[in-house]
Symmetry: C2
Subunit: 429 residues, 2 copies
């Protein structure tokens, strides 16, 4: 019995290799269950991460296993699909092979869905001092940094040091920054007075820094104003029109020359993962890879690029944003397209994105949404946010658990995941 | 305002310092809520760990935040109590101060409850190659080692290497070893066939090694026999009468000269934590510190030692075992004793342990118990085990969550926490 059938050159059903089990890759794979093909999903992690709730792990409201599920478990019923945990090192286009640390994998069709990673806008050295929030490890590192800083402040007699320990500077006023600022402020408000004896919530500073003149730039202006007010109600200092000039072990230097000392959490930018380099394809200015209407590479019709990595224009020629719904819909589209192609039916028309709107939450009880011309805000939107996020959780059995956790936390103000398991602080080690 | 009131020499209510927030320290602190005293609980972690369920984290059945809760949250309503996260470095008996990495803490009464740590029976170098199971970090390391080894085996074409990857050798046939063997075997049985494509559960080997001639030596013999059979039903190879001669990066060498290659999990022995050295007190042969009937040090009546660290004889002069119920009852006893002493009432008689029996579980659906002359086994005992463990969970809101998780897992056979977050293997790095 050959142990790695995909390495075997024997004829058989066509081989589809999917790189990355984020929203794009996972939704593609799930729709391929009935395809007469050998599907291989390669990811360097063994889990699919539900990114929209990652900030809740950073804020100690959810545990890692509430927002991440083993890819194998999600795909175990698909007998035509196997999962490989390996780091991709490159692609051999001539031999149609994906090269990994654990061997080569041949493909007839390749779906590249490796997504985006944090970008420090040309300052990779800032990553030494700032926390970013792309992976599960990032989120638990932020959680432990916040909780650890509070523990240190409780014992610290030096006023300036206490202030630095209790200051959290969040860079980027998009949805991630807004959600992060809200949850960090709430963590401080709910624990500083009750759990600690020497802290009070007035000492806890959360500062949200945004380069443009308003938060949530893609939402209507009145939503931005509401968001600012809602964050200020939680005690967040909103600081718009300020660019970051420098990040150091102590904090940040802003474009107006002011210096903020504290823990820096970077929510400002993303860039494509190295997959772009393996593909040897032209790139747009933002580093993403342009694709045809069928999400293929121009000169390699067997290679598809989807999700945050793809530069895919909408009807008006503007590129689609790097958000989960785009990736999911592209994943499903690829599965339908390949299903038709493999069975000789005509392929569907070019990919069209259906925009069901945006939702962001601002702490406990407030959220904003934007659905085309219609926008909303307030507690009803927050309940809607909670219900949709629970509905969209991938692993069905998690819905009940997460719903129950949120309910308990809502009723008791008690965060269930406030553990400091390993201390791995940045910068001033 | 003095930031660290305990460092201040001003007169005030007496200072009680508790070292360690395990079962002993936590139960002492909780019963001191109404004492006219300044209570300080010092622990190097920010959480209390529910040790009896730690093996479930190693087996990916529960998440770390299901079995550990922030000490601050548990004690936040006790306004006379503060929590300090710090590493204790020593005790200055003359000045009655506890020395930590974060300053000195004065005491009038000291309760030492720092518990036990893993003992490799004179071979500390074995800890490089074997996994042990005392801390939350240990448990997640075992979980990631098992899941990571299965991922590697799935891609491995070399038969001998596959076999080594899929072999798990558990040392020690006490309750911890039995529970660990059961959960590891079940993890293999429930995932090898369904989640992986190249593995089958027959390749998954769990070997339980015990030095004496039967498992669970403190239980009656028929319970030991039942346990052996129950584990064998799960596919565990039970290997009694075998001592470990050597642990190497590849596996273990047993006293009969046989060599087992695989991941080694050490559940065989514990020894007192370094606190014994700080106390400058005589020790018993097992390293524990003998205490008076009132759990005091002979020559320092203001210093109490409780839990796994204390050598405390029962009515027959035999030392009490190092188990959670002893520590809990001793903690409560100290609180009552100090309450009486501080208010001038007569102190209670010497500490008496009430033995409510022992319970251990063998995988899904089977457990054994021993209550004095009465012992039981089977599925009814397992349900009893589940109910009592949920009842004893410290943080009330966790009961519902853990009950729900177990129910979902029981119905779906799906483990919710199978995440490989960081890879930190022992030995063959």
């Amino acid at each position: 019995m050959p142990i790695n059938p995909a390495n075997n050159a024997a004829p058989g059903p066509p081989r589809i290799v999917i790189l990355g089990a984020g929203f794009g890759g996972l939704f593609a794979a799930r729709r391929m269950a009935r395809l007469n093909a050998q599907v291989t999903v390669i990811d360097r992690q063994n889990y699919h991460l539900f990114q929209p709730l990652l900030y809740q792990v950073a804020g100690a409201a959810l545990a890692p296993s509430d927002v991440a599920w083993p890819i194998r478990g999600l795909l175990k019923r698909q007998k035509n699909t196997r999962v490989v945990m390996a780091e991709v090192q490159g692609i051999d286009h001539q031999r149609r092979e994906v090269l990994t640390g654990n061997g080569r994998f041949r493909y007839d069709y390749l779906v590249v869905a490796t997504g985006a990673q944090t970008s420090y806008f040309g300052h990779p050295e800032w990553s030494q001092y700032a926390y970013d929030i792309k992976s599960l490890g990032d989120a638990t590192a932020i959680r432990e940094q916040i909780l650890g800083a509070m523990e240190q402040a409780e014992l610290c007699e030096l006023e300036s040091e206490r202030q630095r320990l209790l200051t959290f500077i969040i860079i980027g006023g998009g949805p991630t920054g807004v959600e992060m600022a809200g949850i960090v402020a709430e963590l401080g408000n709910s624990t500083a007075n009750s759990d600690f004896r020497q802290l009070n919530s007035g000492e806890f500073h959360v500062i949200l820094v945004e380069g443009t003149d308003r938060l949530l730039g893609v939402y209507p202006e009145k939503i931005s104003a509401y968001t600012s007010h809602a964050l200020q109600d939680l005690g967040v200092e909103v600081c718009t029109g300020q660019l970051v000039k420098e990040i150091s072990p102590d904090g940040v230097l802003l474009s107006d020359g002011s210096k903020l000392d504290g823990t820096v959490i970077w929510c400002a930018g993303v860039m494509p993962t190295p997959a772009a380099a393996w593909l040897d394809a032209p790139r747009e200015r933002d580093g993403r890879i342009p694709v045809t209407g069928e999400l293929r590479l121009e000169n390699q019709p067997g290679v598809f690029v989807i999700g945050d990595l793809a530069w895919c224009p909408d009807q008006n020629g503007r590129p689609l944003p790097g958000v989960a719904p785009v990736a999911k819909q592209q994943g499903r589209y690829i599965a339908r397209l390949l299903s038709n192609e493999l069975s000789g039916r005509p392929v569907p028309g070019p990919f069209k994105y259906r925009d069901y709107g945006m939702l962001a939450t601002i702490g406990r009880g407030r959220a904003v949404s934007n659905f085309g011309r219609f926008s909303s805000k307030g507690w009803l939107t927050w309940w809607f946010w909670g219900l949709t996020h629970i509905y969209f959780l991938i692993a069905r059995q998690m819905r009940l658990l997460v719903a129950l956790k949120w309910l308990l936390e809502y009723l008791t103000f008690q965060r269930s995941s406030r553990l400091i398991i390993s201390q791995n602080p940045k910068g001033q080690k």
